[in-house]
Amino acid sequence: MSEEPIIAIRGLTKTYHVGDVDVHALRGVDLDVARGEFVSIVGPSGSGKSTLFNIVGGLTPPTSGSVHIAGHDLLGMTDTQRTHLRKTTVGFVFQKYNLLPTLSARDNIEIARYIAKNGKKDESFDDVLKLLGIVNRLEHKPRALSGGEQQRVAIARAIVNHPAILLADEPTGNLDTENSTAVLNLLRRLNDERGQTILMITHNPEAAAYGHRTVRMRDGRIEQA
């Protein structure tokens, strides 16, 4: 691919200070993800994949190295700039769905649009809601939705502002096999049909197989790309 990668990471390190101890979560990660790619990241607990997810998502700053996300250099970004990045460039899907319990499914999606100040009503988004199979569940609050439905609402919320990258952290970790398959198929279709770039963290090799390629992490480094 001649196009610039949408995620370009070079020599990324992240060190946490826990009391007097320095914890090196990432020890020099290099990774490129092309626009429209669906990449799965696997690795044992403590391998650094969640830290990588958090840095790419702009939830925490890197310690050193360079991280370019859709043209934005994350190193040296202020909190305000990272807040803006989360608003406009990335969308998150979490293992525990993380819907706001007091709002209906529709409002959970709308609030993401509101925060991003994305006033444009996107007609094509109705197709996404149909694709996700939640059109008839939009007026329900999360407690009235099954886990699979909640995760599909969370996916809709993550992509409502057309983020450059969809970050999914164990999106099937709380789901049964049937719902896991449905959610993974949906992610795959979003990637195929809408060209959505997806970076997915998972423990599950079967889930990882839905991506175009799998990146393995161990001890804060990428083993094999």
Partner: protein
């Protein structure tokens, strides 16, 4: 959208929301009732002072404007009447406080009637003996008293001789001589009421009386009734400020605790909002809007409750206390509730706004 989130958040924890609103409403009611009571009681006293029908009023040297304390000699009256042109009648009354809000008045009916035109009796009539008492309708209703009944006042039994229309002096009136003897104030009175022949002569008469009665306080009735304000009641303004401060403190503490627990409970949701790109300002904004809504709802409930306390006081103690509805204090009490509540929300709000998104998202 944010307003919807705010309302849904408040609906999500109805008991907490209700308790916060009740606490804020009590704060508002406390302020409105206190101010309403002081204004209601003072207005009523002013109305009853005016009801005497006098044009001029003389108070002894060194007396407070409203308090019953301070005496002067009864023989001031012949001095005033006999030596002052234009004065058509004058009467002295002795006021004796029986408790914080009530007092009993000793009246010489012969001279008092010349000033006031006499009491309008609903039942019974004027004193027949030194041990008679006349009460007004409100006192009679509150204490379920009828003509001929015996009532106990200042450690003595009195026979009720008549029940009169409210609006003139005290609610309990006894013969002046009896009250003077009973309270060791023989030959003394608290106030002298003076009537002059025409309104045009009020000012010159006041000037002449002031000249003659040096150190005494001589007021026209019109001026006197304007003095019935909280500023002229010793310590009332300070007391009001203390109650208001306590109210603001209560509002502050209730909202602080309510919002602090809300922030702890919603840690994960705050993390989600941050992940969606919500700025610290937006998080703070959400909590402050919730607080403002609680304060406004509490203020509305507090205003409604103030009507409740007014009705309760009117039902239980019509003869002792009157609570005015103080419309001009509605915005003040609401503003005080808002200030207390918003101050209480600042720390929890900042804590929420500064929350680390990753920690918040992993909060169980």
């Amino acid at each position: 959208m944010i307003n919807r989130l705010v309302i849904e958040n408040l609906k999500h924890r109805p008991i907490r929301t209700l308790l916060s609103i009740i606490a804020i409403s009590l704060q508002v009611t406390m302020v409105l009732s206190l101010v309403g009571l002081s204004r209601g009681v003072l207005n009523d006293q002013a109305r009853r002072a005016r009801g005497v029908g006098a044009d001029i009023l003389i108070r002894p040297p060194g007396s407070a404007i409203i308090a019953s304390g301070g005496q002067m000699l009864s023989r001031i009256i012949p001095v005033v009447i006999e030596k002052q042109p234009h004065v058509t009648a004058a009467t002295g009354v002795l006021i004796y406080g029986t408790d914080l809000f009530s007092y009993i008045t000793g009246v010489d009916l012969a001279t008092f009637n010349r000033v006031s035109g006499g009491y309008r009796f609903l039942k019974g009539g004027p004193f027949q003996s030194p041990n008679d008492v006349m009460v007004d309708e409100l006192y009679a209703a509150q204490h379920k008293v009828h003509v001929g009944d015996t009532v106990s006042l200042i450690n003595r039994s009195w026979r009720v001789s008549g029940i009169y229309e409210p609006g003139m002096l005290a609610r309990q009136v006894v013969p002046l001589d009896t009250l003077q003897d009973l309270t060791a104030n023989s030959g003394k009175i608290s106030v002298t009421y003076v009537k002059v022949d025409t309104p045009a002569n009020i000012a010159p008469t006041i000037a002449a009386l002031s000249e003659r009665l040096k150190d005494y306080k001589v007021y026209s009735m019109e001026d006197y009734v304007t003095l019935f304000s909280p500023q002229n009641v010793p310590m009332l303004v300070q007391f009001t400020y203390i109650v208001i401060s306590l109210g603001v403190l209560v509002g502050f503490l209730v909202v602080f605790l309510s919002m602090y627990t809300a922030v702890l409970e919603r840690t994960r949701e705050i993390g989600v909002l941050k992940a969606l790109g919500a700025s610290p300002g937006l998080i703070l904004n959400i909590l402050l809007r919730e607080t403002a809504l609680l304060a406004i709802a509490g203020s509305i409930a507090g205003i409604a409750l103030a009507y409740g306390t007014r009705a309760l006081i009117a039902a239980l103690m019509p003869g002792a206390l009157i609570q005015a509805i103080v419309y001009d204090w509605w915005p003040i009490a609401t503003a005080l509730a808002l200030v207390g509540a918003l101050l209480g929300a600042v720390y929890p709000g900042l804590k929420a706004a500064r929350q680390d998104a990753i920690e918040a998202l992993s909060y169980e």
